[in-house]
């Protein structure tokens, strides 16, 4: 896998891929979709872990980049701009469309096609939206989505489905700790407990103390 391809995959994940990069990824999928998919899955996992997002250890794997690209394609222009998907939403490749058509025709949400499992969480990263299909006749089952994505009542109008794109806030805009969910708070408490015990038990050296002194908890992602 070339460095350029890696960069294109990375850009695609950040919704910053242009047509050229999208085409590159699609051609690579043609030649060797397994390794492209694997690299994509790793990027997704690393990205989620780095942002402190809960990610189910689903063996079914993650979205491949083509499906991700197709979700960008499904967005209306306003959303596309918001997601900074400059260029990727405008045309994509003709190969992207079949995915979207399949999803629509089957009345299945792209989330189900994608197979990403986000753990149920009190605080969903915003803005995550749930699609009804274009026909709006059926609504996706919340159970399949683990209660993570909020579903509006049927017939509430057309909405889009997309894989959640975490928004990045600068450090100074982090929400106060009071808004963290109980689950996240508990893990952070355990991390502090571990740091305390390590500092107390460390034979020698400043690093365990530094870890303890610099403890800030992990930040929730919005």
């Amino acid at each position: 896998m070339t460095e350029r391809l890696r960069e294109s995959l990375s850009a695609l994940m950040d919704d910053e891929a242009d047509d050229l990069e999208l085409g590159r990824v699609l051609r690579a999928m043609d030649e060797d979709d397994v390794s492209v998919r694997q690299t994509w899955a790793r990027y997704q996992m690393v990205s989620a872990v780095m942002r402190g997002l809960p990610v189910g250890a689903a063996d079914s794997g993650y979205a491949d980049p083509v499906v991700h690209a197709s979700t960008l394609d499904a967005m209306d222009p306003a959303e596309a701009t918001a997601a900074q998907a400059a260029g990727a939403a405008s045309s994509g490749s003709h190969r992207v469309r079949p995915w979207l058509s399949f999803a629509t025709a089957a009345g299945v949400t792209l989330m189900a096609v994608v197979g990403v499992q986000w753990q149920s969480d009190d605080e969903a990263p915003a803005p995550a939206r749930v699609a009804t299909t274009a026909s709006a006749a059926s609504t996706p089952t919340v159970a399949d989505l683990g209660g993570f994505l909020k579903v509006s009542s049927p017939g509430a109008g057309q909405q889009r489905v997309r894989t959640p794109v975490p928004l990045r806030y600068p450090a100074f805009a982090r929400p106060p700790q009071g808004e963290m969910s109980d689950a996240r708070r508990q893990v952070d408490a355990y991390m502090l407990y571990h740091a305390e015990m390590s500092a107390l038990n460390s034979r020698a050296g400043m690093v365990p103390f530094a870890r303890y002194a610099a403890f800030e908890g992990t930040q929730p992602v919005q």
Partner: protein, 345 residues
């Protein structure tokens, strides 16, 4: 080579001994075990003061340290120079953290037992644990001091690697890096400036706090033998009468349990089982508690060198437990340990 001239035998003997010693220390000069021991001795026995940078999880902190060994007892003061004003004081086996009201750390201290803590079993006496190889790197220069690089490389991908820079003159640790399996730097410790072997005024070890500081003390249990622990105070109500103990059924090679404890979580009647493990270099903590939470709390989180994995498991028909591993090990290792935990009847 000595000229073939008759010398007093004592001088010759002394010279031969000197030659042997010189040859021995030339060998020792490249012995990682010796350098690690020297590093450990410097950290414990030297008096020093300095400022260092600490990089972790995308954040860079500055800290000041003063260390003195007085009558064989460690005294240390660490001052957190960025963000929340925090000081950590060590006097022998007692560690105190001084916090200001409003410090975010206080929110978490409510959710964890306050100790005293079970003292960890002393691990082996070898400086280089079994799961690692050590090899020297290039010479370097850190904090204006000439240093030797020592790489501590794990034998497998279940744990992290380290790069250390040790002061040529004293063996003191000047810089350390923690490196993950892909070669990424997760954590850096580096002295900006350090004075080693100086006289430390006892006043330097005193905290600069006014009356508003909150003291958070960490101490060892005085009465229990190492590694032992039992529930404190009143019986814990919400644990089934034959509540199992817990153990992981998989561990990376070389990790051993060093402490086990059951403790009450403050302001509640929940019991928290805590087990500590180390391979001599890295450590992790295993927490198990019963849960009645409505939502799934499963998650994976990381900050710098520290990974945390929490998973919920069902035991029997109606008992659910949260199992969490927190430690300086790769996320996948933590995940595998969590999933291997079994109740021990």
């Amino acid at each position: 080579m000595m000229p073939a001239r008759s010398l007093p035998s004592s001088s010759l003997g002394a010279l031969l001994v000197a030659c042997f010693l010189a040859a021995g220390s030339a060998r020792a000069a490249d012995d990682p075990e010796l350098w690690l021991r020297r590093m450990n001795d410097a950290l414990l026995q030297q008096d020093y003061r300095g400022e260092f940078s600490y990089y972790s999880g995308g954040d860079l902190a500055s800290l000041r340290i003063v260390h003195a060994s007085i009558d064989g007892v460690q005294h240390e003061r660490l001052v957190h120079l960025n963000g929340h004003p925090r000081e950590i004081l060590r006097n022998g086996d007692e560690v105190t953290c001084l916090l200001e009201p409003g410090d975010s750390m206080l929110e978490f201290t409510e959710s964890i037992p306050s100790g005293p803590f079970a003292r960890a079993f002393a691990h082996g006496t070898e400086m280089l644990p079994a799961g690692y190889q050590a090899r020297f790197g290039a010479r370097g220069r850190i904090a204006g001091r000439s240093a030797r690089e020592l790489d501590v490389v794990p034998n497998d991908a279940t744990r992290y690697g380290y790069r250390l820079w040790l002061d040529d003159a004293t063996g003191m640790l000047l810089r350390s890096e923690l490196i993950d399996v892909d070669g990424d730097l997760l954590e850096i410790f580096q002295f900006v400036h350090v004075d080693i072997g100086v006289d430390i005024d006892p006043a330097e070890l005193q905290p600069r706090s006014d009356g508003s500081s909150i003291r958070h003390r960490l101490t060892f249990r005085a009465d229990a033998p190492p590694g032992d622990g039992d529930a404190d105070d009143a019986p814990i109500v919400h644990e089934p009468p034959n509540a199992p103990a817990w153990k992981p059924t998989w561990l990376p090679v070389g990790f051993r349990m060093t402490a086990a404890d059951v403790r009450r979580i403050p302001e509640s009647d929940r019991a928290l089982h805590t087990l500590r493990f180390t391979d001599g270099l890295a450590s992790f903590s295993l927490f198990v508690e019963r849960t009645w939470a409505k939502n799934a709390w499963d998650q994976r989180r990381q900050h710098g060198a520290t990974s945390a994995v929490m998973r919920e498991f069902a035991v029997g028909d109606d008992e659910r437990y949260l199992v969490t591993v927190v430690g300086e090990v790769p996320m996948d290792t933590a995940e595998r340990i969590v999933r291997s935990v079994q109740p021990v009847p």
